[in-house]
Symmetry: C2
Subunit: 333 residues, 2 copies
């Protein structure tokens, strides 16, 4: 039997989580059941949505139980298979959660070709964050060439892809990020047209300057002060693809949203969405994204943390914007 | 020359308007220009959107200038024509505003058949309010049979049609109105499934009882406390057709909206709309509505005020929900 280190939800946070809300335990790995595969986790994705799963209150998916393994997307290697089509040594992406080994139903796994792209990219640009950007821009916001697209958390796993797809589709891409380094990265490395630092005391004014024709599409990842700055700049018939509200995930009461008078007078559309409702687009996305990567039209950056024992602290940093690029835990087991 | 009484915007209101914001003047009617028709106003429609036109700030349409004639939809009779296709004695609907006579470009007029329906219905159930309900439900909210549709200002010109179309389309229609008389009217006369009084101190609880399966579509005319009660009851993938915010039209600062956490977690869609963007649906609407009226599936109620001199006070009452049914001024000139 192999020892399996797991990160459990020890207690539910009230407001900002701390490392004390997590517990690391070591357990044995059971044999896979029929139709299951034992996967050794190689990379664990850390994403803002996980904060919502730590709460008891209803979100779009079930909470993690207290004492349960934290949920999460992973890439790993098959070490034992009791499912047709999967063999030892295969690489797969799936949802093993924060643990070194897991028995997973084969039907929840996607096989990866290690020669096609770096394996970890299945957690980022070629995975859920990439699909989130793709479905949000093309299906929810329905961007058109010539429009101005603003994205918050612009250097992050989703935001960085949003701006680059917007450029591919002929839009003006404006990125909002925290601090000069991330801001310059999205323009100089990723090819956005302009950046705005959300720490700028003149945020609204700077955003207005960066969007001389107003904002047609807001790909919203943040909420709070960033959204307040964006809102009055929305053009008639503007759309908001609401993907995340990281500024509010630690709130202990519901913060109000912006005035609906703008929604009415400017005929805006706001639509919340969750990538798991858009899995039917995975095929289109994989095809397009693979092509864009080959052509060098999409670049990505990973922020890699080593060892599962560092996952809780890395996750807490993610909620504060401390990461720079797609946050991934390299397990090393 | 004929004397023409007009209601002008005398001054811009701050907060709640008063009769002192209006001025009634008497002017001569000029001869129509080429392509124009002189129309004697018979009925003037009073609608909540007019409050926005009294402001200086940008809304979805130009403000009324101070000293200008108040805007408004009208039904009238042609008294002189310099446009092909229009003759003296024809009945037309158009936008003469708050005045007894107007020279209007023929291309802005729609000819009415007085034998097909009462002329005043072109300002209500067969006019803009009816089209607003139709486009909002079918195109914006995209209602489906079996869904629960809630509409505020339910006994009003738009709301009353919303509930009845929802019923025709196989939905559960829940109306929110002010006071027992209006509430019972929407159920007993118009065939809604349930009513809730917005003055009910237990508004949220009563609404929850009226919507045992939650709310799929909110046709929002009001905002404020009514929207606050609706919001937590919205189901996953619910839609809000945002048509009006009468609770906020007198606000002197922007009131916040409801929390976006619901929008995200439940994948809600909110879309503001204005009927004038949906004129391409007028043909479909007229065909369907004429059929529903013939079949007795749609009923309507008018609140008629006599004489242009009473228009300002009637309009102020409309903003407070004092009318019961579509508010119309019968000019009597």
């Amino acid at each position: 039997m192999t020892a399996n280190r797991q990160v459990l939800l020890k207690s539910r946070p009230v407001g900002e989580p701390t490392v004390d809300n997590f517990e690391i335990v070591k357990r044995d790995v059971a044999a896979p059941g029929d139709g299951e595969v034992t996967v050794r986790t190689m990379f664990l994705s850390l994403d803002p949505y996980m904060r919502g799963r730590m709460n008891e209150t209803r979100s779009y998916a079930a909470s993690v139980a207290v004492g349960g393994v934290m949920v999460g997307g992973t890439v790993g290697e098959v070490v034992e298979s009791r499912a047709p089509g999967f063999a030892k040594g295969d690489f797969v992406s799936g949802f093993a959660g924060w643990q070194e080994y897991a028995n997973l139903p084969a039907k929840t796994l996607r096989k990866l070709d290690p020669n096609a792209a770096p394996l970890s990219s299945a957690l980022g640009v070629l995975g859920m964050p990439g699909l989130t950007a793709y479905a949000g821009l093309l299906d929810i916001a329905q961007i058109k060439a010539g429009e101005t697209v603003v994205v918050s958390a612009a250097s992050g796993a989703v935001g960085s892809v949003v701006g680059q797809i917007a450029k591919i589709k002929g839009c003006r891409a404006v990125g909002i990020a925290g601090g000069r380094v991330k801001c310059e990265h999205v323009v100089n490395e990723l090819g956005f047209d302009a950046w705005v630092d959300h720490r700028d005391p003149e945020l609204f004014k700077s955003l207005k300057t960066a969007c001389p024709k107003g904002i047609d599409v807001d790909f919203e990842n943040v909420g709070g002060a960033v959204l307040q700055a964006i809102w009055p700049l929305m053009n008639d018939f503007g759309r908001v693809a609401l993907c995340g509200l990281i500024a509010h995930y630690n709130d202990t009461s519901l913060a109000p949203g912006p005035s609906w008078m703008y929604l009415l007078a400017r005929r805006l559309m706001v639509r919340g969405f969750i990538v798991s409702d858009h899995m039917s687009r995975m095929g289109d996305f994989q095809r397009d994204m693979a092509g864009w990567l080959r052509e060098g039209k999409i670049k990505y950056r990973e922020h890699v943390v080593e060892g599962i024992e560092n996952a809780p602290e890395a996750f807490l940093g993610l909620l504060k914007g401390k990461n720079f690029g797609k946050l991934i835990v390299k397990m090393g087991n």
